[in-house]
Structures are given as C-alpha cells and as structure tokens.
Symmetry: C2
Subunit: 289 residues, 2 copies
C-alpha cells in the first residue's frame, strides 16, 4: 500500500479520540422510522430479529450477526420486518478529527456479517462497552473507549484496507506527492518552503493544510519519519549506528537525542531490545501457554 494512505490512516487513528454519547441494548418493534441526519457515528450490532435500513439510496438487511457502522450526517430510515422486533446493541459516538470523518477518506462498508466465533467476540466487547458506559466508576471513560477502539479496529480490519478504498479527493493527491518527496529525500535537509512549492501552496497555508490531513506539522512529520527510518535501520545488525545517522541526514549526537525523545531509548538500547524480542518471541509464547 502507498505510504501516503498508510500515513494518513495511521495518523488518523492516532488522533482518534471518540466521545461516546450513549451505549445501550434496545429492542424496536415499531414500524419504519426516519432519523434526522445525526452528527454521531452509530455502531449497531444485531442480536435478534430481522429488519431493514436505508441510508441515501442504499438498503441494508438487519439480521443477527450483522455489525453496522453508520456514517454521521446521513438520513437514516429503518425498522423491523412485519410482526418482528429487532434487538440490538448500539452506541453513538463523535470522532471529530481535523475536518474529516472516516467516510470522507474511505469508501467504507456500512455493514459486515460475522461468523459464530466473531459474534461471540463482538458480543463480549459490546457488553464491556455498555457495562462500562452504565457504570459510575471513575475509570469508565477509559474502559468505554478501550472497548469502542477494539470494536472499531475489528470492523476496519474486517473490511480490509486496500488502495481502492481511498476516495480520490484532491487534498490526498496533493499530500501524496509531498509524502513521497519526503521519503526520497529523508537523508537530506528538507525545508517547508520546498514542500509547499511542490503543491503550489503558500508556505504558511501549506503548514495548516498538511497538519489537518496528516495530523502533524511538516517538520514534526519529517522528524517522525526519520525516527521510523532509524528504527528500521537499527533492526538490521549490519548497519553501524553512525551509518544510521548518516542515512537519515542527522549528526550522531542529534540522532541519539531525537531518538531518545521519540522512543525513550538510546539507539543502541533499541537495537538490543529488538534483537531480544525477535529471538525470544517463540520461546516466550511457550513459556506462557
């Protein structure tokens, strides 16, 4: 997958906060009802009964084992089949990030169908979410989001990411060009002016434009990429640490300082831990099972 898409999505989820406004179990037996476009994302997991949902011009079946992620702002029209009632776990949440919502960047499915094992897993997570939401413990904010993040990650991994899912909107095409350029010149000094020129924007405007999509200011992003590159290089035993520094265009001592800021470790210690973790992964699995 293209680095741009990876970067945008990973940084998007890095900033993903989510504010759960309500989580519950409901049963609806009323006929079809229409909802004003809500400003919330809605996550539904159908436990029992059958029904239907219409968003824009698309229709979806509501059936046990279906997990749905409804986009904010779209008119929704839904109800049970005649004589049935639909039982579901649900939650509403806000997730404002920059100016974009998930459905602005990705051509995401609205509904996925889970098998028996997956259903158990999602049911457990929803129970955790609803229990945490209804509880009065002081840590409920942490527990609610922990469960929600798991469900959302599950949903997205299930959909599977591929480049076709990315909507070809102009800002992404522009940023793609910039990110590509940074990768190719990571060993050099890169100025914000030269990046802004690439996409014909004024440097001052460019900084906010970049930050809104990527989640970091350009210079901050360049440093992050240098550190990520440093990590990959350090994982290869054959490369001297001074060579790592050279390859990302930093002085030795500046690499050490930046790397420690970024990971909390010196480059040498990072390498040791990496080797240890790689060599002991299998052994450890056995110890613990």
């Amino acid at each position: 997958m293209k680095l741009t898409f990876k970067t945008i999505i990973q940084n998007y989820f890095h900033r993903f906060h989510a504010d759960v406004s309500m989580a519950a179990h409901s049963v609806t037996s009323k006929g079809w009802q229409s909802e004003q476009p809500p400003e919330f994302y809605r996550l539904w997991y159908i436990i029992g009964g059958e029904g239907g949902l219409k968003i824009k011009d698309q229709s979806y079946e509501l059936k046990p084992g279906r997990l749905l992620l409804l986009p904010p702002g779209a008119q929704q029209f839904f109800g049970p089949l005649e004589g049935q009632s639909v039982s579901l776990y649900w939650c509403n949440f806000r997730a404002p990030i920059g100016d974009m919502d998930l459905f602005d960047i990705l051509n995401l499915k609205v509904s996925i169908e889970l098998n028996d094992q997956e259903r158990k897993h999602i049911e457990t997570l929803f129970r955790q979410l609803i229990d945490a939401y209804q509880s009065t413990t002081l840590t409920r904010g942490l527990r609610v989001r922990a469960a929600l993040f798991e469900i959302v990650a599950y949903y997205l991994d299930y959909c599977g990411f591929n480049e076709d899912m990315f909507l070809q909107i102009e800002p992404i095409t522009k940023i793609d060009h910039v990110i590509q350029y940074i990768e190719e010149h990571i060993g050099e000094q890169i100025s914000v002016d030269e990046l802004a020129k690439l996409v014909f924007l004024h440097p001052n405007y460019f900084i906010g434009y970049f930050k809104n999509i990527v989640g970091h200011a350009p210079t901050q992003y360049i440093n992050i990429r240098k550190m990520e590159r440093a990590k990959t290089l350090l994982e290869n035993m054959d490369i001297q640490i001074s060579d790592v520094a050279r390859q990302i265009g930093l002085q030795n001592h500046y690499l050490s300082r930046l790397f420690k800021q970024y990971t909390g470790l010196t480059p040498k210690r990072y390498r040791q831990i990496y080797i240890y973790n790689t060599e002991n992964e299998d052994k450890l699995e056995q110890e613990l099972i």
Copy 2:
C-alpha cells in the same frame, strides 16, 4: 466521594489520550542502573526473576506478579538481585493533559501485587499491547491504546479511589468550591462572572484556569452538568419531562435540543431506553450465556 474529585478524575480520563512510544518484553541481568528522569510514564509487569527499584527515597521489590506504574520525571534506579535476571513486559507512554500528570493530583501507588487470576488477565492485555505495537496494521494505533487503557483502568481500580488519595493542591480546593456552587444552583442562570468572583479570580483568567483542571470551559461544564442531572431525573418515571426542564432551569424546547445534542436522543426516547435496559438486564444476561 466529593463531586469535585469525581469530576476532575472523570474528565481527566475523558481527555486521556496516551501516546505509546515503545512496548516490549525485556530481560535485564545487568547490575543496578540509573535512569535520567524520563518524560514518560512507564508501566512494568514482572514475569520472572527478582530485583529492586528505587524512586526518590522509596524502594520497591520487583517480583513476578507485580505491576508498576512509574511517574514521569522521577530519577529511577533499578536492577536484579545478585545472580538473577528480571524478565518483564513494559511500555512507555506520554499522557500530557492540561498541565497536570496523574501523580500531580493523586497520591497513587507505584506498585501493586496481583493474584493468579489477575496475572493471567494482565499478561493477556500486555501481550495484546506488545503484539499491536509490533504489528504494522493500520489500526494498530487503536489497538495499542485499547490495551493500554484497559491496563491503566485496571491499575487505578485496583488502587481504589478515595478522597484521601487526592493531593490537597490549591487549584483543586478552589475548583471544588466552584463545582459545589454549580450543583447547588443548577436550576438557575449561572454566570461565569459570579463563579470567578467565588474564587477571587478575574473572569478571563478564570475560564482558562477552570478548563485546565476540569477539561471544559465553565459554561460548557454547566451544560454538561444540566444534562447529567436531566438523565438522572428522566430515570425516575414519576417526574414529568416539563418538570425535568424546570429543575435544571431550561425551557422545554431548549432541554430537548441540548439533550439531543448531548446524547443523540430525545429525553422521551432516553427514558424508554433506560427503562428497557433496566428491566431486561437480567433476562438478557440469561439469553447470552
């Protein structure tokens, strides 16, 4: 527990973001080592071996089944017992919230001891955290934080919250006074000026002061409290919705609008869902088991 403490802590965790800079499994057999005060929180879970840790003037044992949360910025000195090596899961994370860190507000334990069942649970969560950290999936940011939030919530709930844990710092005493006042006057119009006067601060300065600790500007906080009060009142069937509005000092139509913004539901629908969830909780548990 006093509402102020509850409010401050709940809002703190509501804003809790956490940026995991590294997560791994390590074994250390080197003698005692000193660490510069790191700017990270550190979470350690000891799997094997014994050793010791010194922070400031306090000493802690490192033993299998110990879970430690180390405060940022404190000089740390640690190592294994002679001839032993300490095997641990660990992660470093940043969690900047306002100007405060957790240890600024709470007199938190640095180390807790888990029983067998608890160890299994924490080990599983740490494996999830480390696996997610080492993975390259696009949703790793969500999964890493989901696991971290669970571990932190677990740690804090284990410590148990009580008022004695709160450090009596001046800002909290001041805000306590304001929050108390808001509760007692929730049915009235409350102005920022009158709140600022209570604590002898200039209104402009007061707004930032309040927000830094509580996480919301005063007017926003007042509305949240009104909505929380509305929820509690709605959960009592005997109170008419117009009475709910009156008790929180809002016009009927304004209650509906604000409540819908806040929860995504009308007050009436909230009441229905609440009744349904309360009545069906036991039934549902049985269905699912």
